[in-house]
């Protein structure tokens, strides 16, 4: 059944909004509403006309628990857990360190090739240099290199190269970590981009630890970086520090 008489339609819409249309009549009206844009406009007009009545009520402040419950309900579903975060994380995982050393060993040749074949880079290092070749654990292929001059006073400048044209997932960040020694918690060196060459300024107080670090790792974090100060996302690349 359809209601066609404009006056009847207007009155049904009014009583629907007012709240006096009850039971089966209300349910039928809601069915008509779905397929009748004109009726929906009529209802919207009545909502607009009557809504100011709500302003006559004294406001009632809700209990703080209501907002807490709303926040809980609208929170995005928890992300897939990072590998064993509750027990410290990947840096305490023996398998990670084993893979870490293996990858590094297999990259020794690459490392020397890289240094020898890039005289421009080498010219920036009058003395010793620290070099880390970070490999993709899936393929063992080098994916990133990081180099800096150890022992210099002031803020260490990391020269970062991202190999190949890599892309970052939207709303994520790449965070570079220094791993002081096997089993110790990583310390953030800052966020990096996918640019092929870039420089990362490290706080001066990390200098000593950086020069003595066992390795570096890069993890995928939420936009803006790790919310906890420790890696929370998967490690894309990692490598051991080598002095040359």
């Amino acid at each position: 059944m359809k209601i066609t008489d404009p006056k009847a339609r207007g009155m049904l819409a009014a009583e629907y909004v007012l709240g006096t249309l009850w039971g089966g009549a209300r349910a039928r009206f809601e069915l008509w509403l779905r397929s009748d844009p004109g009726l929906r406009r009529e209802v919207a007009h009545w909502q607009q006309r009557l809504e100011p009545l709500s302003a006559t009520l004294e406001e009632v402040t809700p209990d703080p628990s209501v907002w807490a419950a709303i926040q809980r309900d609208i929170a995005p579903p928890a992300r897939a857990p990072a590998p064993a975060p509750e027990r410290g994380g990947w840096w305490q995982n023996l398998a990670f360190w084993r893979g870490f050393s293996l990858a590094t060993a297999s990259l020794a040749a690459v490392l020397f090739g890289y240094v020898a074949l890039t005289p421009a880079d080498h010219s920036g290092f009058p003395g010793e240099a620290m070099v880390v070749v970070m490999a993709d654990p899936q393929t063992s292929a080098p994916a990133m290199t990081v180099a800096w001059m150890p022992g210099d006073p002031g803020r260490p400048k990391l020269r970062v190269k991202v190999i190949g044209h890599q892309t970052m997932e939207p709303d994520t960040a790449w965070e570079l970590w220094m791993v002081p020694a096997p089993g110790q918690s990583p310390r953030s060196l800052g966020l990096i981009t996918t640019h092929e060459t870039q420089t990362v300024d490290v706080p001066a107080e990390l200098r000593a630890a950086l020069d003595a670090a066992a390795g570096l790792a890069m993890s995928v974090e939420p936009k803006g970086g790790s919310p906890t100060g420790q890696p929370t996302g998967p490690v894309l690349y990692s490598g051991q520090c080598v002095k040359i």
């Binding site: 007012l18 009850w22 607009q48 009545l53 709500s54 006559t56 004294e58 809700p62 209501v66 709303i70």
Partner: protein, 188 residues
Amino acid sequence: MDGIDDLMARCTLRDQRAFAELYQRTSGRLLAVALRIVRRRDWAEDILQESFVSIWHHAPEFDRVRSAPMTWMTTIVRNRALDWVRRPRHETAEEDLDGLAETWVDEGPGPLDRLTSEAGGRALAHCLGELPGQQRQSIALAYLHGLSHSELADHLDQPLGTIKTWIRRGLEKLRGCVDAIETGGRAT
């Protein structure tokens, strides 16, 4: 409510801070709306919670051309509250409505005064003021307290048919009056 438009626009872009501010600005009024209808604080707060979760999820579909944000949010809260009191075997909360009936039937200062602070409210206040007291009272009690025709008949001690007539005539006059003001306001 100035600024609510902007907050709602930001909510459609999933801005949680804007949503928190929207809640802060409007939850007092919306809880009052739910509380008047269901008449129990814990039920009203449950409805408020569900409504705001729904407001967050449906914000991207909100169409500001078709309705003002406050109207849209009030509709969500009222519909949930009305569904609540109409569900079968509904446990009712007792509240004394006697005093409230009088405030709407009298002329002069009363709840209508509080309407004049908002643009849409001024037209409604003026037009409600033009209605005979019993029509004004029936409409206000139905809208704010979610009373049905028969509840109004019991409460106002009138035959059901009389209540239906009051409401219908009152709504017809209200529509003509409010639309005339709004059309006139737009023309000037």
